[in-house]
């Protein structure tokens, strides 16, 4: 089992024929993802990577029955692409593109929610169900199948965490990179119940960072609803206030959004909080051998 996506998920790519879209779609196909086509306006009817290209998402959905879209369009066109996907009945849009304006994402997410479409990202590595379906840019070979679910704001910390879990002899059910922008799609609070309900997931790794309060919301949710063990790391304990640390959303505003307050909230919710990402693997081993 897994959450959100599996080997049967039919995926289209928006921005299919661009250089990023092409490179990563090819990698996803090689991993085994069921990519059924792509969308690039004015290239409809062509074939790309052995899959059909459509002018619109509506056409792509009607012809292929796709339910998930992987979005690679340039930043200025992300909102348009996401709204098009929502309007066409796509169930989940995975937005990889970095640098979309916040105002655009605000509008796109509100529109998606109204149309019942879930979103992941933007500015994220995507989602992977180990050895079944990779929708994103992560190195697939790290993610061996297993019993640990992973949710992370950071791409490379997702790889770091998954790699340690695998080296300790465990593996991953599904890993979701939720992105580090100020407005993002699915977050900890929406993903935790999916892992709680997934029979194969036995423990959850949650990787957060400074800025915003999603981790605090997650802590409150975990305390009330999550019975599976959770290991958490919050990046940026040593980050100065008022400075943006790479991700658009990774900024301590005044005294809010610090790593310390998030770590304290998670600890109070019974989460095993590690102070260094180098301890994630060991902590998973510890909680799973109890």
């Amino acid at each position: 089992m897994s959450i959100l996506v599996n080997k049967d998920t039919k995926v289209i790519v928006q921005g299919f024929t661009g250089s990023e879209g092409t490179f990563h779609a090819e990698q996803c196909i090689a991993y085994g993802t069921n990519i059924v086509g792509g969308v690039t306006p004015n290239k409809g009817g062509q074939e790309h990577l052995g899959k059909p290209v459509f002018n619109t998402v509506k056409e792509a959905v009607a012809t292929t029955g796709a339910t998930v879209s992987m979005v690679f369009v340039p930043p200025a066109f992300v909102a348009d692409a996401v709204m098009e996907a929502a309007d066409a009945g796509i169930e989940l849009a995975v937005i990889i593109t970095e640098g979309a304006p916040v105002r655009d994402m605000q509008a796109a997410k509100a529109y998606a929610t109204k149309h019942g479409m879930k979103t992941i990202g933007p500015n994220c590595p995507g989602i992977i169900t180990a050895e079944e379906c990779k929708i994103g840019i992560m190195p697939g070979m790290i993610f061996k199948k297993g019993n640990v679910g992973l949710i992370s704001k950071s791409g490379t910390l997702t790889y770091e965490g998954a790699n340690q879990v695998v080296r300790e002899g465990f593996g991953i059910t599904t890993a979701v990179g939720i992105g580090g922008d100020p407005i993002i799609g699915l977050s900890y609070k929406q993903l935790l119940p999916l892992f709680e309900a997934d029979p194969e997931t036995e423990a959850i790794v949650m990787i957060g960072e400074i800025g915003g309060d999603l981790e605090i919301q997650a802590a409150a949710y975990i305390k009330e609803h999550i019975t599976k063990p959770v290991v958490a790391f919050i990046a940026g304990q040593t980050a100065p206030a008022g400075k943006r640390m790479g991700h658009a959303g990774a900024i301590i505003s005044g005294s809010a959004g610090t790593a310390a307050e998030k770590m304290a909230a998670l600890e109070a919710a019974g989460v095993k909080v590690v102070v260094s990402p180098a301890e994630i693997g060991k902590a998973i081993k510890e909680v799973l051998s109890k």
Binding site: P101, R103, G212, G246, P277
Partner: protein, 390 residues
């Protein structure tokens, strides 16, 4: 990106948000000319730097004659202005804003910022104008009125009513003026892709008018492409030269005050590396994300920027290669050490795709001060040890 007060007020004026009249000056002579042009008997000379707390630091002064305007402009221009937001070294003042004196009856606070939890802009208002709003929020949160506006419908009448009744503005004419002020501010926030607007204080004059006495604006960097007029307001002298240089090469850099330079791919792992160094008893000298396209040129640039900092005693290169292959990065590091004189130990941890090949390349190159590490913990420990030895 942030802009100066005088620039924020130019944007306010464009949208009909009332401000006192003012003119920016680069020299005392220009300040005098500005005072003559504005007329009146009282002027305020205001240092233009990107930091709050200018008044307390001595950067905002009242002048009662043109001679005094000249004298104060002379004092403030080129001073190192220290406020609670500049750090102890302060910031050099390059411009002053000469503003007409205002008849202050009441000081309020008004701001617009993104509420990340609600995913909407929120207008914040308070009767506690002129105070540090963080302090007000902490000590007396009930004195801050928050009104979230859904961009799908925009600023409605009820948003305005919540603000004026919350602030205790009872005179109908004043209510109308304040609501108009707030709705214009919301409009300019949205249309310019602002990230933050703060007016502290917003004043009520003796005649019941509302004026933006101060103005602070920050913008969403991702949206600057569609606002060339705002991009033109960028003041390079306000930016850290190393951060700016780094950004030209696609690197994201923030200087810190420790001893171990860090070069990492990915913002989260970069912060996680700093945290691990700290956990192992060392101190990080910087945040540096080389991004997803690390190559010999960007790695060399990273070394160059890190080594400008004289406190750096060791460098920890921590790369988790995903799509980027580690063997290529290993070669990049070797090339970079030829391009830049790296005089401190460099601890290299390369994991992920082709990590074994990368380890082999580094081993065969056998460079004296390049030390290979097996994982994050090992690398951080070696970096801390190397920094302590030198």
């Amino acid at each position: 990106m942030n802009i100066h007060e005088y620039q924020a007020k130019q944007i306010f004026a464009k949208y009909g948000v009332p401000t006192p009249r003012g003119i920016v000056a680069n020299t005392p002579a220009q300040a005098v000319a500005a005072a003559h042009e504005l007329g009146g008997k009282i002027w305020v000379v205001k240092a233009q730097i990107h930091a709050g707390g200018r008044g307390l630091g001595g950067g905002v002064k009242l002048a009662k004659s043109v001679t005094e305007v000249e004298q104060l402009a002379g004092e403030i221009l080129h001073m190192q202005l220290v406020t609670h937001q500049t750090g102890p070294e302060g910031k050099e003042v390059h411009k002053v804003y000469i503003e007409e004196g205002a008849d202050i009856q009441d000081e309020l606070y008004l701001g617009v910022v993104l509420d990340r939890a609600k995913e909407m802009p929120v207008i914040m208002a308070s009767t506690e104008g002129g105070m540090d709003i963080e302090t007000v929020a902490h000590n007396t949160p009930e004195k801050i009125i928050k009104v979230a506006v859904d961009p799908a419908v925009g600023f409605q009448g009820f948003h305005g009513r919540e603000l004026v009744f919350g602030l205790g503005i009872t005179d109908p004419a004043e209510q109308k003026k304040f609501i108009s002020f707030a709705s214009k501010l919301y409009k300019l926030y949205m249309e310019n892709d602002a990230e933050l607007i703060e007016i502290n204080p917003l004043i009520k004059t003796g005649s019941g008018d509302f004026l933006a006495l101060d103005g602070k604006m920050g913008f969403d960097d991702s949206a600057l492409g569609r606002h060339p007029d705002i991009e033109d307001m960028r003041d390079i002298s306000e930016e850290d030269p190393d951060e700016r240089e780094a950004s030209k090469y696609g690197l994201s850099y923030v200087a810190l005050d420790g001893e171990i330079g860090c070069m990492v791919n990915g913002a989260g792992l970069a912060m996680g590396t700093m945290d691990t160094i700290n956990y192992m008893g060392g101190t990080p000298a910087n945040f540096l994300d080389v991004g997803g396209k690390a190559n010999a040129e960007t790695v060399a640039k990273g070394f160059e920027i890190i080594l400008k900092n004289p406190n750096v005693k060791a460098i920890f290169v921590n790369i988790f290669g995903g799509i980027v292959r580690c063997d290529r990065i290993a070669n990049g590091i070797l090339e970079a050490t030829k391009l830049v004189d790296v005089h401190v130990p460099v601890i290299v941890r390369l994991d992920g795709t082709n990590a074994a090949e990368a380890a082999e390349i580094l081993k065969n190159a056998n460079i004296a001060n390049v030390i290979a590490a097996t994982d994050l913990a090992d690398g951080a420990a070696k970096a801390v040890a190397a920094a302590k030895q030198s």
